[in-house]
């Protein structure tokens, strides 16, 4: 979280904004759920984890069967340290929203993005 807050201050100074992509408005993404945004030819899944007051973003493509579906998956947490996760709607493989690691024991890795919220807008940091 601290990183996000730092970023917020920076964005106000608008030094970083070149790397930040305006994705949508906060109320475009359902509470405790996800939505998909188009970025150039890519698709990014954004998750509004209202319960934790956190936002996450990952690739929308599920690496299991190459389905553009993660934004439609259910989010939740796993384990004692409450790792935030998303379950793909197709075969319920789950992925950490923090690290993109597959939590169902397969060798998949999702790309994750940093999310910045400012003034009701959702930005994604593209590197």
């Amino acid at each position: 979280m601290s990183e996000i807050i730092d970023l917020k201050q920076e964005i106000q100074k608008s030094t970083l904004s070149a790397n930040l992509f305006f994705a949508c408005y906060t109320d475009d993404v359902p509470q405790n759920g996800g939505a998909c945004v188009k970025y150039k030819d890519d698709q990014i899944a954004i998750f509004n984890f209202t319960r934790r007051g956190e936002w996450f973003a990952t690739q929308n493509l599920c690496p299991h069967k190459q389905q553009m579906a993660l934004s439609r998956g259910m989010i939740g947490s796993s384990g004692d340290d409450c790792e935030p996760k998303v379950a793909c709607p197709f075969h319920k493989k789950t992925f950490s929203l923090k690290t993109g690691e597959c939590l169902s024991g397969d060798d998949y890795q999702l790309k994750t993005y940093l999310v910045v919220i400012n003034d009701g807008k959702v930005f994604i940091k593209i590197d």
Binding site: N32, C36, V37, Q43, I75, G76, S77, A87, P89, D107
Partner: protein, 831 residues
Amino acid sequence: MAKKNVVIIGNGMVGHKFCEKLIAKTDEYQLVVFGEEPRIAYDRVHLSSYFDGKTIEDLSLSTIGWYQENNIQLHLGDAVTEINRTDKIVHTHSGKTQSYDYLILATGSAPFVPNIPGVEKDGVFVYRTIEDLDKMKAHASKCKTGAVLGGGLLGLEAGKALLDLGMQETHIVEFASRLMPRQIDDAGSKLLQGKLAQLNLQVHLNKNTSSIMGENEITGLAFADGSVLELDMLVISAGIRPRDEIAKLCGLEVSSRGGIMVNEFMQTSDESILAIGECALFKSMIYGLVAPGYEMADVAASLLCNIDKQFKGFDMSTKLKLIGVDVASFGDAFISEPDCTSIIFEDTHKGIYKRINISNDGKQLLGGILIGDADAYNMLLQTVNNKIILPPNPEDLILGSRGGAAAEGAGVMSLPDDALICSCEAVTKGAICGAVIEQDITTVDGMKKCTKAGTGCGGCVPMVKDLINGTLAENGKYIKNVLCEHFDYSRQELLDLIKMNKIKNYDQVLDTFGKGDGCETCKPAVASILAGLWNDLILKQDTIQDSNDRFLANIQKGGTYSVVPRIPGGEITPDKLIVIGQVAKEYNLYTKITGGQRIDLFGAHLSDLPIIWSKLIDAGFESGHAYGKSLRTVKSCVGSTWCRFGLHDSVSFAIEVEDRYKGLRSPHKLKGGVSGCIRECAEAQSKDFGIIATEKGWNLFVCGNGGSKPQHAQLIATDIDNATCIKYLDRFLMFYVRTADPLTRTATWLNKMDGGIAYLKNVIVNDSLGIAADLEEEMAFFVNTYTCEWKAAIENPEMRKRFNHFVNAPEEKDPTVKFEEMRTQIKAEAW
């Protein structure tokens, strides 16, 4: 100092297991693996499932990443062609050389192909590798008739594969006078033959094949007795040949009948070379099963770590995986009188044959055969292996106790601690019970992770479950099916809590009774409870619904959705049919008549769903809830309005019932059927509830199931009128909604119910719990508050917005969705 090299030849099941075992014990060695097949080790035991949907990935035992992480050098698609024992170097096909300190031969075996004239013809296959299967698949599309040469364990498996490949006719040709000659007796074989015939596998015994007919491509088999069998493809499954060729070449001792000779430490005649798995011959025996191979892998890995472990031979008991027929043999299956007493039970009607061989003093079980019903296999095998003293009436072992009901799984707890429960992973009873007590493991999944038990062939899973529950019970722990890691309650407990506390949303449920942030298991379960209790619109809490419920449609390949309007009782007017046709045409949807007497439209883009539904709703359709755990269809037959046998109007009644319960959220989906007479054209007895007309009224059946474990529904009331039938149904359905675990169909719910159908009937018909009035009242509330959720969704702009693929480009559809053409309609791109 440089690490010593261990070179493993063969990346099959046993070679891979050896790597796992060795690195778990030590990091002293550098491992180098050569595998001839182009892919990483996979599960050969479940090879056949490649034909019914499993992918190569599903079958893989590991990943390239695993080998990298553990610093194991893996060379795939490169066979070792020569072993130079003097310099301790191996040479490979691609020209690589590699020195070794220890060499492990895990080369497995190859199918034995008898020397019949014509075996080289096109259309003749063997069954061992994924490549073999791909070749069969490619050839099968143009074939109608297939056969397997060999009626052993693998032959039957191959026969099933031919069925899965869509052969219209499949034959099994066996030289011996019975099937599975090594596992079962004549009587068992006869029964099995009958069972296979039902699966459409025709068996020919005593057949000596003299030649394979055809020009370049096979056209048939000619037998020594002069008869001929015409066919388009043949799979040879006549036994295995250990792959000892490179061992032989370098002068290791091999048997004239095949197999690299090893001692109890798996050493060959050269101390630094070990052989394990199907290529190894121990005491004149090749062990053609995976469990003994894994044990050998462990023995070999132990030797390299100076751990004293010996291979002591292995039990060859087996249970066939053929879907539809249970076949098992264990211990000494063939010993016969006067060396023992055999108890045989045969039910030709149900297709069950069971034989147990008991020592003459009546104290010990020596072995046996089970066909048609092998539920007792695990326990019987344990009884043999652990020399457990038999009860006074040993026939109970196969007939079940016919006195008072015996506690489920009671027998398992009486096993000794060193009883081997999972033979694939060598996990004992002591280890499983220990994990329950010391590490608080309470689920099969947890046990798989913790001990690996049940991760091999999976045959021991029921026993593992009984052991977990048995241990919990012995330790005075209350066994309950908790929902998931976020809730320490069963579905029923949580339902009662939510109801008493009148909680209406998920977050509040989680805050009050749970922990963490929820997951894909508890969210839909709680959603179903809330819907069942308050009948609120499910889209109000869309993100706790399973994806299908969230978008009110089933997600399908490629990320498109299917649309299933309700067609109650299967009755539809020409006008409505026309609307379905028009909508399908306009939105380019694939249409199909479903098995539930209605029409499914596939291939809809997410963003088209609201407009498609608004057109359907305008024409008078409603949601068919094909996506929900809720009422699907009530199937009808045409009944007395047209049918000359019809006793009552089954269509009208089916429509009435379907309209009454439509939208009811339940633990699993619900299906019904109404037939106009005993001919039962609506198949009502295979449904969760079935209604069949009699001269005097209706008979009501409950808790039937089609699907993967079909079960007939059972009668709870006879000759009742329409109103009574509805009353009983109200009670039955509400009782199920209130008490079943998530994702439990009515049949499974009944199977787990103490007291079974007699108890259920008493609750529903005689109101033995005094809750009938409550149940009816709850159902009335539900019926009165029903609304079509699709109608509500399209009328609400906020909800409609949820159906766009891109939130930042609502007008654009998902560009990755692709269709192909098939029979002038569209089809999803294969994945």
